[in-house]
Symmetry: C2
Subunit: 404 residues, 2 copies
Amino acid sequence: MTLIETKFAALGTGNAPGQEIRQSGNGFSGLIKGNPIQGTPVDFSHGDIDAHPPTPGAAETWSAGYALGGAQAYTEYRGLADIRTQVAADLTEFTGAPIDAENEMIVTPGTQGALFLALGATVTNGTKVAVIEPDYFANRKLVTFFGGTVVPVPLIYGDENRDAGPDLNALEAAFHNGVEVLVFSTPNNPTGVVTAAETINRIAALAAQYGVAVIVDQLYARMLYSGETYTHLLACANVPENLITIMGPSKTESLSGFRLGVAFGSAALIDRMEKLQAIVSLRAAGYNQAALQTWFHEPEGWLERRIRAHQAIRDDLLAVFNAAGMATVTPQAGSYLYPQLPKLDIGLQDFVRLLRQQAAVTVTPGTEFSQRDHDRIRLNFSQDHRAAVEAAGRITALAARYAA
Amino acid sequence: MTLIETKFAALGTGNAPGQEIRQSGNGFSGLIKGNPIQGTPVDFSHGDIDAHPPTPGAAETWSAGYALGGAQAYTEYRGLADIRTQVAADLTEFTGAPIDAENEMIVTPGTQGALFLALGATVTNGTKVAVIEPDYFANRKLVTFFGGTVVPVPLIYGDENRDAGPDLNALEAAFHNGVEVLVFSTPNNPTGVVTAAETINRIAALAAQYGVAVIVDQLYARMLYSGETYTHLLACANVPENLITIMGPSKTESLSGFRLGVAFGSAALIDRMEKLQAIVSLRAAGYNQAALQTWFHEPEGWLERRIRAHQAIRDDLLAVFNAAGMATVTPQAGSYLYPQLPKLDIGLQDFVRLLRQQAAVTVTPGTEFSQRDHDRIRLNFSQDHRAAVEAAGRITALAARYAA
């Protein structure tokens, strides 16, 4: 393989959410057991925004932005100043840390765009990057694409004896061994665990001590379930010099079709991210940026209802998987569930494809999130409640059918 | 400087179109001669979509796309299949070369996004890339960002003795010396010259012979002025194995606020581009993709009127610059003009800043397009006709004032 072929071999999207349509349906005939199980098709690879529609008023803000013409179409690469001003104020209130709209924030094409820019601004040939396992699948790919080296750090799922979050001993060892960047999500994708307050404080302090840049993906921080607490790393007493926090309205607010995210933090890194944005896609689509005006300004009670609806789905799905003996950590926030499969007599990829073919259920294999997770699947349970519960039943039925 | 600081030092955006707002206005007092010249402010750094509005119906297609919900929000990373099918058919008709919607096309966040993905799919550490001088300023930056080496090839502006386009002798020498990728625009940005038919055919044949990948940016190919002809490289008899053509509706059609572009060509490169898209920003914003339905389907006579309006502005601006003795090649297509300044007693960057301060005119310095072009400025003349002509007069007046 040439150098560039090797580079792209590490970027496979065959199992990426939403890309299953490009897979061929062949090669399973020898594996199939039993008949298809009927039911409403459910695509757990991403949220169903028809079941949980976009924030009220989002389309109207788009139209108002369009009516503004060139001023809204051609924004600064980092996003329209007025919109940054509003969002920075909202995020200052949400996180408890002051954010300077002029110098410490950039609007990006989705949080994916924010992650790309943040890692592009910190990782180059030879940079060692601590990546949590499991975590959002793009993190590992991004590090490799930019020429960096992934240093894996395990996630602790948390229980009565141990706080949830990155394993601090492994993390400090990684920092000690030359890691320059840490990227991690909290709430964690794919498990939904929230890194505990004490762990967040310790990560901040360690990063400050070792001079490590931290990129923290808080995409799902607003969908926090009853009784849970959330700690923002940027609001810690002791934070690293280079810190970027990422959020966006794609998930809880169902605005993914607008491709909007924001990154906020160290001005020098935001500057680099804007320079990179200039050659990547110039800016988040101008008219779409207007929809950020609805963010943190949803109608009274809307967010609480959305959280309650998701918590109810979560609880019902957990009951289905627990009844089937499939161990599943309880998500504290967000809409991901990460059940463990029984030992199967077929491989994980085959099981995932058979699930789609025999049960009309699409899930994402655990190996996208950690190369060790050959026995897990991820579900985005932001779905129609009833259809999701029935589909979970089909998953457990097929898991039993293909159990070793 | 650290490795990553060096990398970003090459990505300056201080003079990038639309970013002038971030420049400080200080430090000129010692240079200023004379009084400000009053007039309607004109920002020639990009087109004025209020003077030349978006394609009729574009906003309505967005709303219809939004109403489709999840199917339009979560498209394949390469774009919604139905939209690719329509656009591929339209581009097949426009270019005269068959394009397979399923395997040979990707919808991108603007043509900037297409360029980023195309160069990302072909350039890595050590790749030698032929870059035309002058050409779109991001080309050089992209090559450097991906670790490649820029091999400059001069643009021939064209006259009765020589065809316009890349210098074929220099190009073949570059190919002979190990260049693996060629990126160029036709119509050329910033000059508006269209690479002649014979030159296009020769570039295709040379690239095929030397195994060079070609990325051809045809963003402005639809705005072709009276009497001019256009040759599509992908329709040549002999084309290289790796060829990507880029177009989009951001300019002629004023849809820049939607951030839409398309790249079409070799399936293997389109595959790589989609893999990269997956970690860059997932997809062009879903609802926005719907606006591609208006592309090549404008109302009867709309495109012809738009071209006539721009040709009239072009001719008036050429008259202003010619009368002032500022040599300016006649654009054959697109809306860029690249006048040559007289010898000044101040630097080009200072002149550009003083133009904005003293004459309310924003232009882009020639050094963004070729490091040798210290005596040129680029104007995007897709502006209000009268305001543009008056602003051109202010440019010639200030050029005379600061002449050496």
